[in-house]
């Protein structure tokens, strides 16, 4: 499934590049002729048109899309498009940017699964730079995967995985995979265990938050996730 990104301003452009870099397919929707010309030149899939029109969303393949990302210049447009797209594809994952965080509940009520306010995220990040500069540097380096071989990622335990039913100690995880489990999301309860102890049991369907090399996490994913 592909992602539809509505609005190709600063945020829309950057996140489109992030997604493409990680191998995702993105269709951009924007009304602006110059922006669409530059998208053509960069060979980026796009539809020139108003995202508030059903026809535009249909042309962007909203009905078979995996997710919709709303970064239109006005929160009111994001609300309108969220409502429209939700009707056209009830299973769609909808992520919306908000300018004014007071509009968060309106966007949630319009069907957005998640709402991000860059001003809040930016402010929290600035506070982190001041309060914990090394932690900030650490996270910047593990989360920006482009040229990096170390990162934080997530893997879900398949029913035939050798780890299923073992405790972390029994699985000898650190030695076996050269990666550490920094969190476990329980399949039954959805509860998150931070910094899990060696006696924590890994069950089918649990999601492990793991810190390790990209290739090692990919290998781990093949061993625990695939049928």
């Amino acid at each position: 499934g592909h992602y539809v990104v509505c609005g190709y301003g600063r945020v829309g452009e950057r996140l489109t590049e992030d997604l493409i870099q990680e191998g995702e397919t993105v269709v951009v929707v924007d009304t602006d002729e110059e922006i669409c010309a530059s998208l053509s030149e960069a060979e980026r899939l796009h539809v020139q048109g108003d995202a508030e029109d059903e026809g535009t969303l249909r042309a962007a393949g909203i009905e078979r899309a995996r997710g919709l990302i709303l970064t239109l210049p006005e929160d009111s447009s994001n609300v309108f498009v969220a409502l429209t797209a939700r009707e056209m594809n009830p299973d769609l994952f909808v992520l919306a940017r908000t300018i004014d965080h007071d509009n968060r509940s309106k966007l949630r009520n319009a069907g957005a699964d998640k709402v991000i306010a860059p001003s809040e995220v930016g402010a929290d990040r600035m506070a982190q730079v001041v309060l914990r500069p090394h932690t900030d540097d650490f996270l910047e380096r593990v989360l920006h995967t482009s040229a990096l071989s170390r990162q934080i990622d997530e893997v879900q335990i398949h029913k035939n995985a050798p780890l299923a039913g073992q405790t972390l100690a029994e699985s000898n995880f650190r030695q076996q995979f050269d990666a550490i489990v920094i969190g476990i999301i329980d399949a039954d309860t959805g509860a998150m265990t931070f910094n899990p102890s060696p006696t924590e049991r890994i069950d089918v369907g649990d999601i492990l938050i793991v810190l390790g090399e990209t290739e090692i996490i990919d290998a781990l994913r093949e061993r625990v996730c695939l049928p």
Copy 2:
């Protein structure tokens, strides 16, 4: 030392609240009369005036401040104030917000130690929500310390610390502190080791990036950081 925050828009307000919540002292500078009235009402330290005037910065105590955080509405104002403040206090840590990331190098040249573009941070966060939703949730919960007992933090190894000179395995870190070391910044080289192996040696001056309960990290900090 206190922090001076210039510009009390969405980002300035949020980061001021973040810093105050973590026990820091903040002096806000803003020209706007209504904003300053509401700051008075909330009993927040502030100076009403133009941050581009040396007198305003002096009134905010720039000469003895620990850091300056620039979130003025125009990048050009942030550049100007960075230059002025740097002259008045060469040791100041200067963090600047930029609207247009093309201005990053101008802000760096004006003396900003770190520049954050909320549009970029917000876009990267939105991509992370799409690509690794559980990791995003994990980090949101460990980094937002307010009501939380689990977090990522950093501690520096003091010369009398019992850990100094030991390997991670010798220190029995996980069992002794109920916390895990997810990164080490080497005191000599500044190099960062991600997911350090049990044979990694902890030296005086090294900074450990640690995941654990707040109270446990506080206890750890007392044992390894204080003289």
